[in-house]
């Protein structure tokens, strides 16, 4: 089988997709957003608690989707807890550049998100990898509108 498929579907990804972390609702959330990937109809709802200093105190999601989108949501929630809004945005930019292959200059360290960089070889799946992120940014920016990856 092809290496790029193996790079995409690493064990970590399969694992996160089967047992997503921070999966569930968050009663006390003060910001939420829903995202939809019109490509496959997958939907994802994101809840988080943003404190007065714009620090993400807690973040959870519910929804269904392909392995890539679930793993991405799962890993993202792990990484965003404790980050400020600005840090979250910056991280997304770095992540986005990595999965679209548009990063220039030396590779920055994106931590655990690294496991998703195989998406680079699958342009049609970039939307799956970024859906959770778009939704999270909409939530913490308190954009009411539903997010789509189109």
């Amino acid at each position: 089988m092809m290496d790029d498929l193996k790079a995409l579907y690493q064990e970590v990804i399969i694992d996160h997709s089967r047992s997503p972390r921070n999966f569930g609702s968050l009663e006390s959330a003060n910001c939420s957003a829903a995202g939809v990937n019109p490509l496959c109809g997958d939907e994802l709802t994101l809840h988080c608690i943003l404190d007065a200093d714009e620090i993400i105190q807690d973040i959870r999601f519910v929804g269904r989707g392909c392995a890539i989108s679930l793993a991405s949501a799962s890993i993202m929630t792990e990484m965003l807890r404790g980050k400020t809004k600005t840090e979250a945005e910056k991280l997304f930019d770095q992540f986005h550049a990595r999965v679209t292959g548009t990063a220039d200059g030396p590779l920055v360290d994106i931590g655990k998100l690294e496991v998703l960089s195989g998406v680079r070889e699958f342009p049609t799946r970039v939307k799956c990898a970024t859906l959770a992120w778009h939704t999270a940014l909409a939530a913490i920016n308190k954009t009411d509108e539903q997010v789509t990856t189109e």
């Binding site: 498929l5 109809g41 392909c66 699958f122």
Partner: protein, 421 residues
């Protein structure tokens, strides 16, 4: 159904169609993707085009093109003849009585919108009902929702059962004197179900409703006969039946089309224009405002001829064998769930695999050169019925072979390996 071990390869090999010979007429089927020979099983989304069709486009542009209908010069005459000849072929294709009952449209979606907007606005009153089945493509739902909102009428859903068949008793329950329109698909794109159009039409006529048939998925597989079906409107897309993109036809019964207001306004569809008002042309021109898609209409006619040359019986039996083989092979695997088990079913194999999202399946088989469609197939209510977000779908055309299906099943093994180790 037979078990996999007893698959009768010989029976299949003696089918009326030789896909190898047919494949030569489709240059794209020789494409190599990721180093593999292409296996194209996404035909319900759009089929590939034989040389006869693309060469007809070339020939049209190289020796016949001009604007149609209003010219007195030689090329305009040639173009008009080519265009109107395509209309005759389209008329034969659905066995309509009159050539003027055939309107060229962009595709099924435009055909349905034309009927919803023009017939709907003319006919629907507040409180009227439009029946739409649960297995419709979005194109046969949304236009009705839009016109219902504008006219104060109401869209009601005819439910289906878990085999993917319309529940006829429920349909009869829903039909009553308020029913103005019944909009149903001939073949369901997400399930393959072939609906009993004739019977449903008769029941609709009993209460005075008109029937609009979405034949997008029927056209590539079945011989369509609007007089036999007794339907009032029927529409289909060229690009799904070996024809070019951008062209399709709408059939409408003459009396209905005559009584309807125009859909779009412009050149070609008028008799006389003044600033105090305009008079409209006769059908079909009343519904063809502006310069039509002349070249692709010609290509559409060529696609119809391509299908006639192979023959509908041969097409149906070939595709039926592919479908049976698919079902047989699926039996080998306990992790495959098939969507759509209607006894009357055309060449669609929709499925999911336990624990692997359709989207991931799509990506994995693609790397083996196998093109299938994954997602909601523009049929979200069907997905909701089965409580899934997406399914995987392989759909067949005359150029597909038993080997193509073996390639699909081999590729599915890769998905299992990646996900289940």
């Amino acid at each position: 159904m037979q078990s996999a071990l007893t698959i009768d390869r010989e029976r299949i090999a003696t089918a009326a169609i030789d896909p190898t010979a047919i494949r030569e007429q489709f240059p794209i089927l020789s494409e190599i993707v990721y180093g593999k020979n292409l296996v194209y099983l996404d035909n319900a989304a759009s089929s590939q085009k034989p040389l006869a069709v693309t060469q007809a486009l070339d020939k049209y542009y190289a020796s016949q093109h001009a604007n149609v209908h209003r010219g007195v010069h030689a090329l305009s005459d040639r173009a008009t003849e080519a265009y109107e000849n395509a209309r005759k072929l389209a008329c034969q294709f659905v066995n309509a009585e009159h050539v003027r009952e055939i309107i060229f449209v962009r595709g099924t979606t435009e055909g349905l919108n034309l009927v919803a907007s023009s017939y709907g606005r003319h006919r629907l009153k507040p409180g009227d009902e439009i029946l739409v089945s649960e297995m419709e493509h979005h194109s046969n739902i949304v236009p009705w929702q839009i016109i219902a909102e504008q006219t104060g009428s109401r869209v009601r859903m005819i439910p289906m059962d878990d085999s993917g068949q319309i529940i006829q008793e429920e349909y009869l329950e829903l039909l009553h004197e308020k029913t103005a329109i019944v909009a149903i698909t001939y073949v369901a794109n997400s399930l393959g179900t072939v609906n009993p159009i004739k019977q449903m039409t008769q029941r609709a006529h009993d209460v005075g409703a008109v029937v609009v048939v979405d034949a997008a998925q029927a056209a590539p597989h079945l011989e369509i006969d609007v007089r036999e079906l007794e339907c009032d409107f029927l529409t289909l897309s060229g690009h799904k039946m070996y024809g070019p993109t951008g062209i399709g036809i709408l059939y409408g019964r003459e009396e209905l089309l005559d009584a309807m207001p125009p859909y779009q306004g412009g050149g070609e569809m008028i008799k006389r224009v003044t600033f105090s008002g305009s008079e409209y042309a006769e059908i079909p021109h009343k519904f063809e405002a502006g310069t039509p898609n002349i070249a692709d209409s010609v290509g559409f006619g060529e696609a119809a001829k391509f299908m006639w040359n192979i023959g509908f019986d041969a097409i149906a039996s070939h595709e039926h064998q592919l479908l049976e083989y698919c079902h047989e092979r699926a039996e080998e695997f306990s992790d495959i769930r098939i969507f759509g088990m209607a006894p009357q079913k055309s060449g669609v194999f929709a499925f999911e695999i336990d624990g692997i999202h359709a989207h991931d399946i799509g990506t994995i088989v693609d790397r083996e050169g196998v093109a299938i469609r994954v997602g909601h197939h523009c049929a979200m209510p069907v997905m909701r019925h089965f409580n899934v977000a997406a399914t995987a779908r392989a759909s067949f055309a005359v150029y597909n072979s038993i080997e193509d299906i073996d390639r699909l099943f081999d590729a599915l093994d890769n998905a299992r390996e990646l996900f289940n180790g």
